[in-house]
Subunit: 251 residues, 2 copies
């Protein structure tokens, strides 16, 4: 198999860097096609981990500077994990993050990293959208892609038909209630708009719109920041409930 630089149509992609590669090996060993290291890769611990995964899962690994330089034209990577792309399905009963037409790989990856940090495991992406499997998305996600479920939908209508019992909470700068004064009824879908255009006005009507308090000195927050603040808030709320003695099992 001759590896080429990534393009959206290919049926494999790759992780760049040790951390995302190890996440791949841990979460999806059956999909790993091979691991390539550069001769300048000097992490003894990293090499040991790759070797031990390779022995367990039976994928080949090799040192190949030329191939790394070809796949990674900025020459800023020393480890690459090649894997077969795969299909994933949302957990119907889970709380979902819904991204409407995300256009930036860095934001998309960062959202996935925050999801895993705050125990959200289901990501719906409405097309058109930037490629979930691109090496730059995976790099920004620090490998969190392999720890969550995801699914693509043509539009919000298609999403709603498939998840009819979910309550929708669109995040808008004109949202009706502030994040920390909103009650989120499970299972819920947190809906975030595109980086430049946000959510169209008619998203007001699909559920209870939420806003994040902010000064009037900026137009809006960065998409990944909005998402991060929302997910952290909900993680803390769940956490606080568990710690509330009324919710603990009786002795």
């Amino acid at each position: 198999m001759k590896l080429k630089r990534y393009d959206k149509e290919s049926d494999y992609s790759y992780t760049v860097g040790l951390y995302p590669t190890i996440e791949l090996l841990k979460a999806k060993p059956e999909l790993v096609l091979r691991v390539i290291t550069h001769s300048q890769f000097s992490s003894v611990e990293g090499l040991k981990q790759i070797q031990s995964h390779a022995e367990r899962s039976g994928f080949p690994y090799e040192e190949n500077d030329r191939l790394i330089d070809k796949l990674c034209p900025k020459r800023d990577c020393l480890v690459i994990g090649v894997f077969k792309k795969y299909v994933s399905r949302l957990e119907p009963a889970g709380n979902h993050v819904v991204l409407v037409n995300p256009s930036n790989a860095g934001n998309l990856g960062t959202v996935m990293r925050s999801m895993l940090a705050f125990d959200f495991h289901d990501l719906a992406v409405l097309e058109p959208a930037t490629d979930l499997f691109s090496p730059s998305t995976i790099r920004s996600s620090m490998g969190a892609l392999f720890g969550i479920r995801f699914e693509h939908y043509g539009d919000i209508g298609e999403y709603r038909v498939k998840h009819a019992t979910h309550r929708l909470y669109p995040f808008m700068t004109t949202g009706k209630s502030e994040l920390d004064r909103t009650t989120f009824a499970e299972p819920y879908s947190l809906v975030f708009g595109n980086e430049s255009s946000g959510l169209p006005d008619d998203y007001e009507r699909i559920g209870e719109s939420v806003r994040i308090a902010q000064s009037d000195k900026v137009d809006s927050l960065n998409l990944a920041i909005t998402t991060g603040i929302a997910l952290h808030h909900l993680y803390r709320s769940r956490h606080a409930e568990v710690k509330d003695p009324r919710h603990l099992p009786q002795a």
Copy 2:
């Protein structure tokens, strides 16, 4: 003056895109050297704003496709504002954000955008650091650079000597108290580490270390996300105080 593609040593830089350019014209009109538009730039409202600023502030503006393509090699911009770099000083009595060796332009810009959104106006940057004035930093900031004060320091020691009354709150995954259980005594400095390495362990001792609650499924949060969550939390705390009737002036 013959304009060249940006490099760190030049004494001018430029904004790319309408939104950051307008922020520049509003905040720092005296530093604008010129504005250049592309013939495909079609925002009538945008052109009107540029014209009106140009008349008031006396900088030249012109349509020049060749120059735009030269300065903006990805060919994804239609407006550029060229400005003279400037020196800025922190407000000694303000609450500060301190970034230790930030290395990514996108993160640095996003932090500035969040600062302005949550009413933080003073950014200390410890060297070595990515360039505050690079067009990609300014683009990620959406022009927020022009709305805040900033200052560079060689290390945390130099910063502390200059701001001896500030209480330091280093953000660390091993932090002693959780963000929403921490009392922040003003004036304070929120200290955030580098993207890959975080803060060295000895930062524990410079103040009260803070952690952001998160699952054990990720190593850490993205720097701009950590900062965004912290700044939003403090903005909400200040806000809540103002809304508390005990803090309102008596009738």
